[in-house]
Each structure stands twice: as C-alpha cells, then as structure tokens.
C-alpha cells in the first residue's frame, strides 16, 4: 500500500495529536501501511512536536514496529514454550527453508515476511505456523512448499 500523509494526519488527529499517544498512533499507522517509512516518522514527529530521536527510540525498542516494508504474505512461527517443547525449532527450520528466508526477513520481491512470535495461545495445536491468518499445526516441508507455490 502506498503511503498517504493525509491518512497519517487522520490517525494523528484521531488522538488529538497527543504526544502521549505516540505508541498508539504509530501502531495505527503501522497497521494501515504494514511499516513505518522515514517520511512518516518525520511527519509524525513534526505534528506531535517530538524530536526524531524519540521516535527512533520507540520504534526500535518495541518489536511490533517495522522500519522496512513488510511482505504481502505474513508468515509467523510460534516459538512459545509449549510449541518449543513440541518441536517449534524444527518447524521454523522447515519454514525458513521453504521460504528461503531467515526469521525477521522479508523477501526481496516483498512477497513474504517471516517472523517468530512468542505464544499465540493455541498451544493445543503446537507447534503452530500462521500463514496469512490461517493456523496450521506442524506442517511438513511438502505442505509448506505447497502453500508457497499457491501464493501470488
């Protein structure tokens, strides 16, 4: 999705351009555009009257923020404790192999992003992979390859 500063302004105004709502504002912007561009950060800093330093401080501290574009297809592997003892490391290896990506990487064509998450709360299915919102329990290499194939 391309960036629109008008949309960013709308989000900032929704919080009354309150400095304290910085994290909430950034969460909404990230939700809208999947990542935070430098231009947006500068604009947000300007609108809230905050130094850029603080925006970088916050966006690099919290895991959810991404300063690089994210892939069109989001793949997460749960590495929570319950999934770990049920083989999450092996699953992560298989997914990484299937996507040809390391965890926290996005493919050059912005097709896939691979992330690890700590506990999705569906421990009964563990180890779990979430592919574009669809939960899968311990898929094999072939099953992963099939989904990758199907993606545009």
């Amino acid at each position: 999705m391309s960036y629109s500063l008008a949309k960013v302004d709308q989000i900032i105004d929704g919080y009354g351009a309150d400095k304290e709502a910085l994290i909430q504002i950034l969460l909404d912007i990230q939700h809208e555009f999947r990542w935070l561009s430098r231009e947006t950060l500068m604009h947000t800093a300007d609108r809230l009257g905050l130094p850029m330093n603080q925006l970088y401080n916050v966006t690099t501290f919290y895991k959810h923020f991404s300063l690089v574009p994210q892939g069109r297809h989001a793949v997460s592997v749960c590495v929570g404790t319950a999934c770990h003892v049920r083989g999450a490391t092996r699953l992560l290896d298989r997914v990484a192999q299937g996507l040809k990506l390391s965890p926290d990487e996005t493919s050059a064509d912005e097709k896939f992003s691979l992330k690890t998450v700590s506990c999705l709360g569906c421990c009964a299915l563990g180890p779990v992979m979430v592919f574009d919102g669809k939960y899968m329990s311990n898929p094999t290499s072939n099953e992963i390859a099939e989904i990758v194939e199907e993606c545009e």
Binding site: L26, V58, T81, R90, C119, C122, A124
Partner: protein, 624 residues
C-alpha cells in the same frame, strides 16, 4: 440504551433482562475464543446460525457465541443447556446431526462426545475429568456469556458488586474486605493486592490511577487473554471497585496488541458501559466518577514490569527504573498508581459478592482463592484450568490433564514462564501455591504450566528461555544484559557439543551475579530456568558436556538421523518428503539417509508411519 442513574435502576434493568430469559429454554454455547477459532469454530457457528434460521428454530433456541471454555485441546467446543451436553471437535458437517438429534429431539450425538482414556463415553460437562476436578470461580462464567453483550454479564449478577460498593460501602470498607480476603497478585509476584491498594490510597496526591496489566508476555500462558476475550466486564467491574476504594478517577488498561480479539471485546465492553452510565460522571447517581483509557502495547516483554509499563503508557520506551520509591506511590506522571493483573481484578467482584470469608475458605494458608493455569506442552488435555490454590501438581497434570501424551514418561513441569523453573517428577506431590513454588526454585508467575516428557532436553529448555530473555532484556543494566548473554553463550556451546569442564560452575556463578545485581525482576529471575534445571537435571548437563550426548535427542548438533534397516519396509514416505533429497532406497528395500546432505529437519521422523517407526535419532555413543 438509557443511562442508569441509580443503583435501583441497575437492579430494575437486571430484573427486566432476567424476566425475558427462560432458564428452561435450550441454549447452545459455542466457543469462539482464539484457540477454537484456530480450529475453524467460526464456520461451525455460521453454519449453525444459518441452519437454525432456515428451520425456523432461531426463536426456540438461544445461540451464545462465547469466549474460551478452557478445553482447547478438543476445540471447537459446544455445550447444550440446560442438560449440559458437551460436544467436542465439531465440524460444520456435524451441525445437521446436532440440530436434528439433540436440538429437535433431545437425543445425544454419540460421536461428538468426550471419550476418556479408558474408552468411557461421557455426556455431561461436569462429569468430564478435565472439568470435574476444577473449581472455576473466575473462569466458569465464560461459557454463559457472549462477551459482546453486556446483558449476559448483567444476568449473572454483573455490576452488582460495584453497586454494593459505591452504593452502600465506604472506600475504607471495600479496602478492608479485599485485605481480609488476602487476595494476592495473580501476575507473578503474589504481592497482597489489598496492601498495594492501601499504599496508593494513602499516598499523597489528588490524582491517582488504577491500571490493568494485560501485557501477558509469558510464552505459554494465555489465561488473561481468555478472560478479557470471554468476560471483559468482570475485569472492568473489578477495576472500578478498586478505583473507588483507592480514590481514582482514571484508569488504564495496558493490553498487548498481539491480542486483537481481546482489544476488540474490551473496546466494545467499555462503550457499552459508557452507554449505560457505568463509566463517566456520577456513576449510578452515587457521585463516583471514573473513566478508562485502553493502551495497546507494541511488543516488549519487559514492559509488563510495573515501572516500565507506566513509562510506556506515557508514550515512552518501556524500560524499568530503580524502584526505591514504589509505583504505588509514584507511577504515571509521578502520581500514585496501582497496577494489578487481569486475573486479580477479575477476582474482586467475586470477593465482594461472596464475601472475604468465602474466599479465604478456598486455598492454602498463604494463598487464598483459585488460580488459572495454562496446562500445555506434552500433556493430553491441553487447556486452561482453574483450581483451588494448594492442589497437588500431580492432580493437575494427571487428573485434569489426563497424563502425558503418546504414552510417554513425565519428565518435568515448568512453571512461571521465563522467570520460573522446572520441577522434577519426585516433587509432583507439591501443593501448588505462591510459597511452595518459590521454595523449590520456581514461581507461580502468571500461571504457565508447561509439561515436559522424556523427549524434552532440559539444557535446551534452559537455552530456550535465555534466548527469549536475551531478546527481551532492555539492556539498561549491565548484570542482566551481560549476564544473560554470557549464560546463553555457554549454553549454546554446550548444546553444540563444545561444552568444556568448568562450564557448569561458571554458569552457576554468573547466574548468582545476575540474580543479585539486576535492576528489575526480569534480570533477577532470569537465572531461574538455568539454576533449577542444573539442580534437578545435572546429569543431563554432564552428558552434554562430557559425552557430547543429548539424551533426549533434541540438540541438533549432537544427534544424527538413521533408518533402522530391520524396521524399514521401504514404503518411500520419507524419501518423498525429504526436502533436500538426502534419502535413497528402492521400493520395499530399507532406505538410507545420507548424513552429508541431511539438514536434520525432522520431517522423516515425523512422516515415518508409527507402525514402522524406522527413523531413529542417535546421540553420543548410542548405536542402532
């Protein structure tokens, strides 16, 4: 909705809701919590809704879409009331039978019932061992409540405790009840909630805050999410009661953005409260003013720590500060701020309604009431369980949890998340409460209970927790930042087969330093998983260091994959599934793994049919 301007108006509304409800009417409760959603419960609900409408049954049958019932292992879960018939693992295709048999004729659909390990079929929820041994004080209402409908909460005496407090008790009296109930914080520390409230109440200042800590960061624990998803009003009511007792007009809910459904239900609940006049100015005409702001966390484990959480609410980086002065005295903007966990707040209305004496009649000497645990890992009945404090670990894991999966042997249970420790088999008689867990080097934490079997490597588990903590440590203080990093380095070397004599002693030394010198609880408790596993599973560490052997066959660098020629029937399944072409062999002839090519991805081990079990992992000096 009209605003309620008095306590009697609230009671009138409740009577009106109840008068429109027939307890004898058939009610179908289907779980739509995150766990069941992962099993497609939404399709089940949509299909049921459409078919009830189609057959003109929608007036005769109440369909309630609820939050988590707890038995996540067998989702999607459905209960048919008033009989209490429980169905599990429901597929959209099962709906016709449920309507035609159960809802139309009162007959039970046998294939959807629970079957215990001995093969007995159980019809009713309260007869199923998973539920039978629980005491679901906080969590029990979940299956009767549509979290998006405040009427369901009101029908179950919702906001009655609030009305009692602000209508007829003084703040001091409310505080006394909570103190007398000896409610301890469910988020990990176990600090007495009443004492915390009192400290904030007595702290100087006109502006004070109450906060819900819903930054449930422990991997493997999800009870807070399930309470907020399934019964958000119970937490909100508790918060309002606390605010009244402490003297606050503003509260915050700090919730992880990773819990979108919980955020959605919370937002909905808050707006319903506002419409009814349960938030805002002059609540129920009593002169009590209160409002709530929801703050989503952006993903930082350390931000669940009280001072870090408060700094995050101020829009800053969520790093802890030294707490020479507690946050209950100086928190958000330097104002006295009381922070309690979701489950703690949810207990408050129950204590007010049922009394402190009733509450203290449950539990042990030092830990009163119940606790919700997420019973996960290698246990048969995975899910959320609520038990009285003091129940033996053995009973939780074997009676409720149904024992270990796949007939394997129990090895350890890990409690308290990354701050807790592992507890071995000979301690299974331990009564679970705050103090007993502390004594054995673990902790209650937020209630994660991860069961491990013989296939779990304890060194790997310790490494796992340190990897998590190394990633989540904010890096502000040296002991935590460097201590965790160095311990992790040693464990990585050990798991890679490069451990050396003296490593275990050095681990203990660094652990002691990290525990002693770290700034906040994250660092102070970070060594627990290492220390407790070193204490109870020393031989396993020694095998890794001295023999380069991982007895549980987990550490990748210490194992190799082989196919046992005596067992392999040459079915070719592993060969077809191997992603790197490391397996060769003709049909019906034993296959062979090329160790040079093998990436140890475990696929062959997973796909080898159990009747053959020909793929074997070897470590150290083990031979086929």
């Amino acid at each position: 909705m009209t605003k309620l301007t008095s306590v009697s108006a609230l009671e009138a509304l409740r009577e009106d809701i109840l008068s429109r409800r027939d307890p004898k009417k058939t009610k179908v409760s289907v779980c739509s919590g995150t766990g069941c959603r992962a099993y497609d419960s939404e399709k089940v609900i949509d299909s049921l809704k459409a078919k009830l409408l189609d057959q003109g049954l929608n007036d005769k049958i109440d369909l309630v879409t609820t939050g988590c019932h707890g038995f996540c292992e067998l989702g999607p879960v459905m209960v048919v009331y008033p009989e209490g018939i429980s169905y599990f693992k429901i597929k959209p295709d099962d709906i016709d039978d449920i309507i035609n048999e159960t809802l139309s004729q009162g007959k039970v659909v046998d294939r959807l019932l629970y079957v215990d390990p001995e093969g007995n079929v159980i019809t009713k929820e309260h007869d199923i061992p998973f539920y039978k041994h629980q005491n679901r004080v906080v969590f029990g209402s979940n299956q009767s409540i549509d979290p998006e409908n405040i009427d369901d909460y009101l029908a179950l005496d919702g906001y009655k405790a609030l009305a009692t407090c602000i209508g007829s008790l003084s703040p001091e009296e409310v505080l006394e009840i909570v103190k007398k109930a000896k409610l301890r914080g469910r988020g990990g520390g176990g600090f007495p909630a009443g004492q915390k409230w009192e400290a904030t109440r007595n702290a100087p200042g006109d502006v004070k805050y109450v906060i819900v800590n819903a930054d449930e960061g422990d991997p493997g624990a999800y009870m807070d999410r399930s309470i907020l998803e399934g019964n958000p009003h119970s937490v909100l009511e508790g918060l309002l009661i606390g605010a009244y007792a402490i003297g606050c007009q503003k509260g915050f809910i700090y919730i992880r953005q990773e819990y979108p459904l919980a955020v959605e239900h919370l937002d909905r609940a808050i707006s319903q409260m506002r419409e009814l006049g349960l938030l805002g100015e002059n609540i129920l005409g009593t002169g009590f003013n209160f409002d709530i702001i929801v703050h989503r966390g952006a993903g930082a484990f350390v931000s669940g720590e009280s001072s870090a959480l408060m700094s995050s609410i101020e829009g800053k980086v969520g790093e802890p500060r030294p707490k020479y002065i507690r946050t209950s005295i100086s928190g958000i903007h330097g104002c006295p701020s009381d922070l309690n966990n979701v489950e703690t707040w949810a207990n408050v209305p129950i204590i007010i309604n049922k009394g402190a004496d009733w509450f203290t009649s449950i539990g042990t000497e030092g830990s009163k009431g119940t606790k919700i645990f997420s019973l996960v890992g290698k246990v048969n009945n995975t899910g959320l369980v609520e038990v009285p404090m003091g129940m033996k670990l053995h009973d939780i894991i074997f009676k409720i949890g149904g024992g270990i999966r796949d007939g394997k042997k129990f090895k350890a249970v890990q409690t308290g998340g990354p701050s807790g420790g592992v507890i071995p088999e000979d301690m299974l008689d331990l009564p679970v409460d705050f103090d007993a867990l502390d004594k054995v080097g673990s902790m209650m934490g937020s209630g994660g209970m991860i069961v491990m079997d013989e296939d779990t490597c304890m060194v790997d588990v310790a490494k796992y927790f340190l990897e998590f903590l190394a990633d989540e440590s904010c890096g502000k203080c040296v002991p935590c930042r460097e201590g965790i990093t160095q311990m992790l380095h040693i464990l990585r070397m050990i798991c890679a087969g490069e451990g050396k004599p003296g490593d275990l002693e050095l681990l203990e030394e660094i652990a002691a330093m990290t525990k002693e010198c770290s700034l906040c609880a994250l660092g102070q408790s970070a060594p627990n998983p290492v220390l407790s596993s070193l204490k109870y599973f020393h031989a396993e560490y020694e095998a890794h260091v001295n023999e380069q052997c991982c007895p549980a066959h987990v550490c990748k660098d210490l194992i190799t994959y082989h196919i046992d020629p005596a067992k392999c029937k040459g079915c070719g399944k592993c060969l077809r599934n191997c992603a790197v072409g490391a397996i060769s062999g003709s049909k019906k002839e034993p296959h062979v793994i090329d160790l040079e090519k093998c990436t140890k991805c475990d696929t062959c081990f997973l796909v080898c049919p159990p009747k053959f079990s020909a793929v074997t992992k070897l470590s150290g000096k083990e031979e086929l």
